[in-house]
Amino acid sequence: MSGQEHNMPGMLAGLVAVARRDLLLAWKRPGDVVNPLFFFAMVCTLFPLAVGPSAEQLTFSGPGVLWVAALLSVLISLHSLFLSDYDDGSLEQFLVSPQPLPLLGLGKTIAHWLTSGLPLVLVSPIVAITYRMPGSVVLVLMLTLTLGTISLSLLGAIGAALTVGLHRGTALLSLLILPLSMPVLIIGANTVSLAAGNETYSAGVWALAAYAVGALSLAPYATAAALRISNE
């Protein structure tokens, strides 16, 4: 038995392999990455159309609107996180694999963030500028979005794991994720507003960072538990 030990991939290798696989799959289906971004842009377009495009309104509502749109966009991309693996049986392989399930789930989550949160952060300046957001505030927006979307991917994975394979799972997933994501939304959006008002905003940034670290350490275990339960 001991002779076979060093042929088994290490834990990190398992995580990386899962992440790479998902990134490769996303590369082959660019729509999965791009569609949520279009959704993000469209939601940001809806608000001026609905409420009026005055400069004051835009600068005032910009942080909030952008944050809500980002949240909804991440939400859309979450429901399929485990879906294809559930359908084709890969999920069962994860469950019986010698690699720790939390790490495998984390690998998928990392890939998810790279294909949803990160593109959002990169695209956000473009939309932010249409909302007349000054450059310094845009940077704060990108910072908060980075930290926030990391937390959202981590928490969202729990929800996705709980609802995978359920009939009408998407609506249920939204119902589950939205309350969980409220602290992130509240802190993120309001931190950017504070920055826009030239007030100190570091508290919010630290809070988001702490939340992300907390989510990183705890969420994978909840996701793993949820995956086991869903797959029974």
């Binding site: 709980l162 589950l176 309350p179 969980l180 602290p183 509240i186 705890l218």
Partner: protein, 250 residues
């Protein structure tokens, strides 16, 4: 003592003892509520800031308290069921959810009714406690929705237990974030519900109401759990024997 706990977790034993136990909770509970209502409405001195409207506190605070207690019970019971695989715990969690949700709803409505004469509006977004209560209601809805979406009872139990445990941590964080957010956006000062210090004439009825409602809730929860246990155990021998035995059960 441990033996009693062990016995308690046994469904037939639990089923048998609940009616008596629940009466022990309900009777004092109703008495306390009767005193609290009477004293709160008619005996407690009028608040000089809010006038008689402050009396809504006597129903609002117990509801809010129960809404949060119920969620804690739900989460802890779910955790116990998940970790130690005690089926009764899951039955408690399943029963606590609709009760807790209705008290959350009540807290929101009574809070809104209180808000109207006080702030001039039916809903004040900037009040952190009402906002936290609203988000708590969403947590309840999510929990109940997840439960009903999963057909297999055991699976539903475990999945909702995971959700509740994640939710409990988040509820606390939500409360702090909403409080911070509210401090950023407060235009006018939100009048603190209850005023500065409470004189005993106001306080005692409130304590009586809180206690009384707690006891009442305990009675409701136990009886609802009892029904849940009966339903889950419907195909077992002890249920069959109980039903076929000389009647007198309910």
């Amino acid at each position: 003592m441990w033996k009693w706990f062990h016995q308690l977790a046994s469904p037939p034993y639990f089923y048998r003892i609940v009616p008596a136990f629940s009466a022990w909770l309900m009777v004092p509970g109703l008495a306390l509520i009767a005193y609290g209502t009477y004293a709160g409405l008619f005996l407690a001195p009028v608040d000089y800031q809010q006038g008689d409207a402050f009396r809504i506190i006597y129903v609002h605070v117990p509801s809010a308290y129960l809404s949060m207690l119920s969620y804690m019970i739900l989460a802890v019971a779910g955790g116990i069921g998940l970790i130690w695989r005690i089926k009764l715990a899951h039955a408690v969690a399943a029963s606590a959810a609709p009760l807790g949700a209705s008290f959350t709803f009540l807290a929101l409505v009574t809070g809104s009714i209180w808000g109207r004469p006080m702030w001039g509006t039916w809903w004040e977004w900037a009040d952190p406690r009402m906002m936290s209560e609203l988000i708590l209601l969403f947590f309840y809805f999510g929990y109940m929705a997840l439960r009903s979406a999963i057909d297999d009872t055991a699976k539903a139990d475990k999945a909702s237990a995971v959700l509740a445990l994640v939710g409990v941590i988040n509820v606390i964080i939500v409360h702090y974030s909403v409080t911070w957010w509210s401090s950023l956006h407060q235009g006018q000062t939100i009048m603190a519900k209850g005023g500065p210090a409470m004189d005993p004439g106001m306080l005692y009825p409130l304590l009586a109401m809180i206690f009384g409602f707690n006891l009442l809730f305990g009675s409701l929860l136990l009886r609802r759990t009892r029904t849940e246990v009966l339903f889950r155990e419907r195909r077992t021998r002890w249920v069959r024997e109980m039903i076929l035995s000389p009647e007198g059960q309910s």
